[in-house]
Subunit: 711 residues, 2 copies
Amino acid sequence: MTTENPSTPSRASIERLLRPRSIAIVGASDKPGALGASVLANLERSAFTGTIHLINPKRDEIGGRRCLASIDDLPDDVDTAVLAIPRAAVLNSVKALARRRVGSTVIFSAGFAEGGEEGLAEQREISRIAADAEMMVQGPNCLGMVNHINRIPLTFIETEVTPLGDRPGIGIVSQSGAMAAVLGVTFASRELGLSYSVSTGNEAGSGVEDYVEFLLEDSSTRVIAMIVEQFRKPARFLATARKAREMGKAIVLLHPGKSSAARESAATHTGAMAGDYRVMRVSVERAGVIFAETLEELGDIAEILLRCPNLSVTGPAVLCESGAFKALALDLCDELGLHLPHLEDNNAPSLRAALPAFVGVSNPLDITAQGLVEPDLYRRTFAALFEDDRIGSVIACIIQTDPVTSGIKLPPILNAVEDYKPTKPVIFAGLDEGARFPVKYVAALREKGIAYFPSAERAFRALKRIDDFARRDFRQVDATGLAGIGHHLVTGVIPEYRSKEILAPLGIHFPKGRFVTNLQEAISAAEELTYPVVLKAQSAELNHKSDAGGVILGVADVVALEEGWKRLNSNIADHCPGLVLDGVLIESMGKRGVELIVGARNDPEWGPIVLAGFGGVTAEIHQDFRLLPPGLPLDAIVQELHLLKGAPLLRGFRGSSPLDVTAAAKIIATVGDLLVQEPMIAEIDLNPVVVYPEGEGAVALDALIVGGQNR
Amino acid sequence: MTTENPSTPSRASIERLLRPRSIAIVGASDKPGALGASVLANLERSAFTGTIHLINPKRDEIGGRRCLASIDDLPDDVDTAVLAIPRAAVLNSVKALARRRVGSTVIFSAGFAEGGEEGLAEQREISRIAADAEMMVQGPNCLGMVNHINRIPLTFIETEVTPLGDRPGIGIVSQSGAMAAVLGVTFASRELGLSYSVSTGNEAGSGVEDYVEFLLEDSSTRVIAMIVEQFRKPARFLATARKAREMGKAIVLLHPGKSSAARESAATHTGAMAGDYRVMRVSVERAGVIFAETLEELGDIAEILLRCPNLSVTGPAVLCESGAFKALALDLCDELGLHLPHLEDNNAPSLRAALPAFVGVSNPLDITAQGLVEPDLYRRTFAALFEDDRIGSVIACIIQTDPVTSGIKLPPILNAVEDYKPTKPVIFAGLDEGARFPVKYVAALREKGIAYFPSAERAFRALKRIDDFARRDFRQVDATGLAGIGHHLVTGVIPEYRSKEILAPLGIHFPKGRFVTNLQEAISAAEELTYPVVLKAQSAELNHKSDAGGVILGVADVVALEEGWKRLNSNIADHCPGLVLDGVLIESMGKRGVELIVGARNDPEWGPIVLAGFGGVTAEIHQDFRLLPPGLPLDAIVQELHLLKGAPLLRGFRGSSPLDVTAAAKIIATVGDLLVQEPMIAEIDLNPVVVYPEGEGAVALDALIVGGQNR
């Protein structure tokens, strides 16, 4: 209902908002606490060098600056106007700004789309006016933006702008203004540089997608941290995210909505109607975005990404000084699924040489408290880990104790970093959170590109997300040769026999079958197929044919066929009075095997998505399925199937043969390709797909296509 | 191999170690960095008021204190001697201490049980000598202890002892010395008072169990924080933990070993052989211990428990200032399974009255940024949450921003706490981790019993663990009336027909059956039972009778019976040449239903434990079972079964009837009671137990008892 795709502003108009040379404050004030006063104070504190126009009909001047009586008095070519005024005055002001051809406007006021029908209508009107005037709108219901590169805050939150300088920075893009501010404070406290921070609010005229696109072109921005409750331009975001990945810029996203309760909350609070979280997530991950699960993780991941941009597909080495913590680290890695490259005395000569005899090489590596006796052990150990290419990153879990103890450990560690200049991510994590660890060491570590974590376990969690990203398989197979079946399609349900006719030529195997319309044809068909056979009633109106008695299994001979034909027709007559069947599908009985379900749908927001999982009641209870984007190479699909909880069944459980997972993967690939090429297909359902032992293929016993007009 | 139960020291000897009035330092030194020097320096810095005896044959005095040449020169009644000497000298020193009747000794040196066979033998010798002399041993391979109440550090780690004073404190008990030190630093940084910190190392003469028992009697200790890799006296710890719970003292435990890799690590590093982690965990949780998963969590949980001792069974109210965070909090609570009491406009009049009209009552509650405009909103909201008895605790997720903003929010919050003096746990969590939040506010919050968390999500995780503990059902049903079957038992496998004879009188239902030894008896039995029947070969040697062809199902009539009898006997002859069957069990065919497995075993360390889960291949793959301690009331067992992932099957899935879960629970209860009363039983296996619709009971189709001598 309130889901609206805002128009897409041009890059030039985004520039006018994010790097304005002239700013109008509508509702200028000098009353402390007033929005207009705060905006002006921020600009003055940051020594904004452009032009500031103040508008307040009741004042001649504010703080020595002349006031204009109305928007209509503005000169030409004002880049942006901040509306620091009550909600009731917003619409008229937007009209006035459009008349004066102001480039963009920031609307703080709330109470629009999120506030009910009336607010929604007004917001739509704002969108329309702005689009017509090619005026960019940020908000309403937002906190504005801060440009840290040119030191321009356009927000009423008291803001200290720390100039980014030459450092790479993080761009913050959040729908929630509060969250944008929260991230700004957290990143600053970790001494992570910021490039821009933008809150988009209700997105009446510009959305998070637009700002991310802008940040891709900004050379100062290395990492983009996002908090989004709903993407209003999914396809655009996917394209932008793919581009970011190609450019080597990382996007970290925190997106509430996993729980149904969170979705309800989103619907009532920002006028956002969350889509299906899982479909969104699979699609966005596929495009190359890293998901954070919590605010803590968002900060932790962003810190590692910004300080250590060279990611590796091999896992971390964990260095620690305690056997108990080594065991805890193993538990944690096991729980997280974080793979630690195997190190032992026999496969790591440099490391072996670095360690005293009584310390065995392993990963995690426990160097014990020996480093206190012999501090050079730290330097040697770090050096050996830095030069080992099997090690993708290093988490050093160090007991800080106090400044004296840290003073023994840190110099050799810093020396090793200085000497070897590792390009792999290195994380220094304190085991004793809260220890008095000298700030000079934190600064020295950061200065050398090492992330400092006050506690260890959060470092592991964050690294796991990054490790997953680095290992993610982004190969994409383009669908070809399947187009052209669209003309078969109607809107609505296509019955089994027709669906199978459409799908069989694409290489999906079904049991041998004949579509018949009378008993005589059925008898010939059964003889041709050889008994036993199955009878299945066919009609577009018959969605659940089994429940209606429309499926007769195990028909052994002609007598049973005649009886079954009669029974099927009388069942249908009972359950669906008046229904005229298209006919009956006679099929050979399929051999038994392990049953999968394969489905696909064309999500109105995120496009085609394929579902594959185990069939049957237990699998349904265990929710054992995977969502797959189309275009995965066959081996990647096979890998995905092996991530199913029930995957041991595929590999041959308790003496049964390994199954033909590749055959199942081919069906999944075909279904995905078809949806990509035929947007007229809304849904496909193959249930069950029976998978046979390796080399014997996979057969779909049932098939259903739903046609439907798509975007 | 290295798992040894140390002897149990008396309380008096623990007192001599933990509150010594006279201390001998064997290996006294004034060389900076030497262990003996560090121990002495710690004692002097803490102004130890008792007697210190220094022993060093090469010195007359150290720092103005006279040196004794040998242990033999010590006076009578020395409470404790610290061995600050190399490993090689330890054994002889222990002998000398025993001769001098020293009360206790602390052994820092490593290289004993964890260092191989020779070290293990020496450690055993130390244990024996100490036990004979009634001398308490701490270590070897430990970091000693710190008594914060009487300001006595007995450790070589440079230690600042902060006197506890009148505050309640945390007692630290850790096998790992490094981890004890880590916890000490972390707790101190959170301004949590400490009572004692003890590291037990290899536990040659005293274990974690002994120190926990001591801490129960210590009035200053409110919370006990433990890091344990292996309990060497499981039964003793369980009894102590139960007592702690009765006394209202909380025990929080971090115990590595969840992953198999962690267990291996433990075996190689402290000479500890970890038991089965899951059995340990269920038993220890049942006794009332709270498990932490990480060091971070251990600190977080301990902080809440120490500051907020009044736990409640109702869930928390979450207060926040952002809709986006509200949605994130919902996700997190959903993921954690943290139940939030439902609050809405119509059921919370006080809260409704406290809020502005545009803020709806809900939980999480988003009060928006309105508090900045109207700070009294904080006071009113907190007050309403404090006085609402449905709210068990409050997590306030506050955006701190900067000192100015915090200065607006904190006074009304602190006022509310001052006025209402809430007894429920209250947590103040910063959303913007790292914000410059004035320390005076942190101090003020803590002073009023409010836990301060720099970030929010960790607070949720910690509260979830505490919430689980508060809700845990500790009712215990004592087994009665089942004793006296022990005389039936033999060591080793008891075949099905005998197992069923033993179990049937206890009220466990089996299919009707007759044990027969020849075909003629089989024919009469089958007629009596009515066909169809099942034939099952019976022998204590035949563990997998199905695999050997020893089970013939669906025998329909006398002809089939004769044929089946022949087939069964020839199968057995083929598969198990030479095996003489006891006979054959003829049973009625059981009706089909949902299959559970019920097993129980008498764990040599933790005692009886029952396993209940779903049967079948899929369930096995999904590892869908629960471990249950014996003695749970029937309704608690039913509740546990409803926690199975496949529980929807029990409740009636897709139109099937709800099942007789109570009947299954009765079987589980009986099996548990039996193991408690008959320690001669090592294992019981009922697989499958078929559960029928409500009111129709549950029947075990197969049964196996394994008898065995137990501790």
